[in-house]
């Protein structure tokens, strides 16, 4: 599968001539300064934002809008407050007119996978920030997309919850083997999660460099403390700062 993207506008150029191909099952993290157009890039991949030039393709099919082959994990969770956990997880399936039995079955599976068992009937306001993001991830996976687009999903969480969620996400990803494009401004997060880290410049975003992350999977959280991990982080940090 390939995702290619390029755009050049005359007004505000958020993302400028970015060419990116992502292999099937690859986990790519995109880092860059705040407001560098990373989110715009991701929304364009989903088809929520129009392009001023260039194209996005998934498995050779050009993207013209949101599709079942991609699902977004939103930064602010964007849960429907009047729906329970089950109702939120099954949302995409309901829109796709899948039968109720199947919806519930898929939702229960994902609720178990994301560690939400026992919270099926809870409303979002009753959940912590970390749990809301679990629902957010489960909802995206429920549609069984080929590509997961994650927009800084852990940026609103405290440091400890964030680390828990990072290792949880890797576990879920190992299980489901989706292609993942993960936008973040946390460099340690990018290195820990990804097969490849791509650094964007400040607006208009361009790719300044990319790194292949060599760590074996599954990755325990303590690899973050290794010298190799730290050196990669430092290298990327200097590039993002300098770019």
């Amino acid at each position: 599968m390939s995702v290619t993207f390029a755009s050049h506008g005359t007004h505000t150029v958020a993302v400028d001539r970015v060419n990116l191909s992502v292999a099937d099952g690859e986990f790519v993290a995109i880092v860059g300064p705040s407001g560098s157009g990373k989110t715009t890039f991701l929304m364009a991949l989903d088809g929520l934002v129009g392009l001023s030039g260039g194209s996005v393709a998934v498995d050779g099919t050009v993207v013209r809008g949101p599709g079942q082959d991609r699902a977004v994990v939103f930064q602010d969770a964007s849960l429907l407050p009047w729906r329970t956990v089950v109702g939120n997880v099954a949302y995409g399936l309901e829109l796709a007119h899948r039968p109720k039995r199947e919806r519930l079955h898929v939702a229960r599976d994902l609720i178990a996978l994301t560690g939400l068992a026992g919270f099926e009937a809870f409303y979002p306001r009753q959940l912590s920030g970390g749990m809301r993001q679990r629902v957010n991830i489960a909802r995206a996976l429920a549609a069984d997309p080929e590509v997961l687009l994650l927009d800084e999903p852990f940026s609103g969480l405290d440091a400890q919850t964030r680390e828990t969620m990072q290792s949880e996400l890797l576990k879920i990803w190992d299980e489901r083997k989706k292609t993942a494009i993960f936008v973040t401004h946390q460099i340690d997060e990018a290195v820990y999660l990804a097969d490849r880290v791509v650094a964007f410049s400040a607006r208009p975003a361009r790719i300044v460099n990319e790194w292949h992350i060599p760590f074996e999977r599954p990755r325990p959280l303590d690899i973050k403390q290794t010298t190799e991990h730290r050196e990669l982080e430092r290298d990327i940090w200097h590039t993002v700062r300098g770019g």
């Binding site: 989903d46 079942q68 964007s78 009047w82 729906r83 949302y91 829109l95």
Partner: protein, 274 residues
């Protein structure tokens, strides 16, 4: 709080009972004080009549009003009138709410619909709806229809404008989320917009209830064959003051019940807020 007080239980029990009594009193207080103000007002009214401080031709004693009220219900005179007013109110409200909600959602969602309907909505909303009663009675006659039309003209724009405001205030990130899951416009409206606008819609409904009651009563007072407003004007014209006040009390009670009912409905629709 000590833990080594073996002699204390009796005292502590007393304290607990005391606390319970105080808790009960605190919970009952709003009802007690609320009833007290009503009782005092009724007593002053009765005394004012007894000492002939007011003319009973204009303000009869509350006891007389209460007796008349009872005969209105036992004698059955009020039921057929309630049925007429109720029919005017409910038919008018159902049409207003249905049309107002649908047009309000379309207005809020599609800018061109808003631009198209705006002048009419502003005009209909701007007319003092009571001023329309004479012409509506000329056009639709003195029966039920003219009052239904009064209610619709009084209420439809209120529901419409409140609903449209609700749509404009739907959280954009939820719309975006819905779209990313390939929702059609209709699906987004059903799953995101409609649940979001409940508080706005309900405040429109509450305002409409008041305006509808006014529309029905004024319409009936102006010209009608029956209804609560008809009873009111008949009693007043024949100087039957106890019956007029009794009818007023019935109207007040209906207003309270309808408003409380709307509040109950709003809480029920939004149980997720907890």
């Amino acid at each position: 709080m000590s833990i080594d007080a073996p002699a204390a239980p009796a005292v502590r029990n007393d304290g607990a009972a005391d606390g319970r009594r105080r808790g009960l009193l605190r919970r009952a207080r709003p009802y007690l004080l609320g009833s007290a103000s009503v009782v005092i007002l009724l007593a002053l009214w009765q005394l004012a009549v007894a000492y002939e401080l007011v003319k009973t031709a204009f303000l009869p004693a509350p006891v007389d009003v209460a007796k008349t009220l009872a005969t209105l219900f036992t004698g059955g005179a009020i039921w057929s009138n309630l049925a007429i007013s109720g029919q005017e109110f409910f038919v008018g409200m159902v049409i207003s709410v249905a049309a107002g909600a649908v047009l309000g959602i379309l207005t809020g969602w599609y800018k061109p619909v808003d631009e198209f309907l705006k002048p009419i909505v502003i005009a209909v909303n701007g007319v003092p709806h009571v001023a329309l009663v004479p012409i509506l009675i000329l056009v639709y006659g003195i029966g039920v229809t003219s009052k239904v039309v009064v209610v619709i003209l009084s209420c439809v724009t209120v529901v419409l404008m409140n609903t449209a405001t609700g749509v404009a205030n739907v959280e954009e990130h939820l719309n975006r989320m819905s779209k990313s899951f390939c929702a059609t416009d209709l699906q987004t409206i059903r799953t995101v917009v409609v649940p979001s606008i409940v508080p706005y819609f309900m405040s429109g409904l509450r305002i409409s209830i008041g305006r509808a009651v006014v529309g029905v009563v004024v319409g009936e007072i102006f010209a009608s064959r029956g209804g609560i407003g008809n009873m009111l004007i008949m009693a007043s014209n024949s100087f039957n003051m106890p019956e007029m006040y009794a009818t007023l009390l019935v109207l007040t009670a209906i207003g309270i019940v309808l408003t409380q009912g709307a509040g109950w409905l709003e809480r029920r629709l939004q149980r997720w807020r907890g």
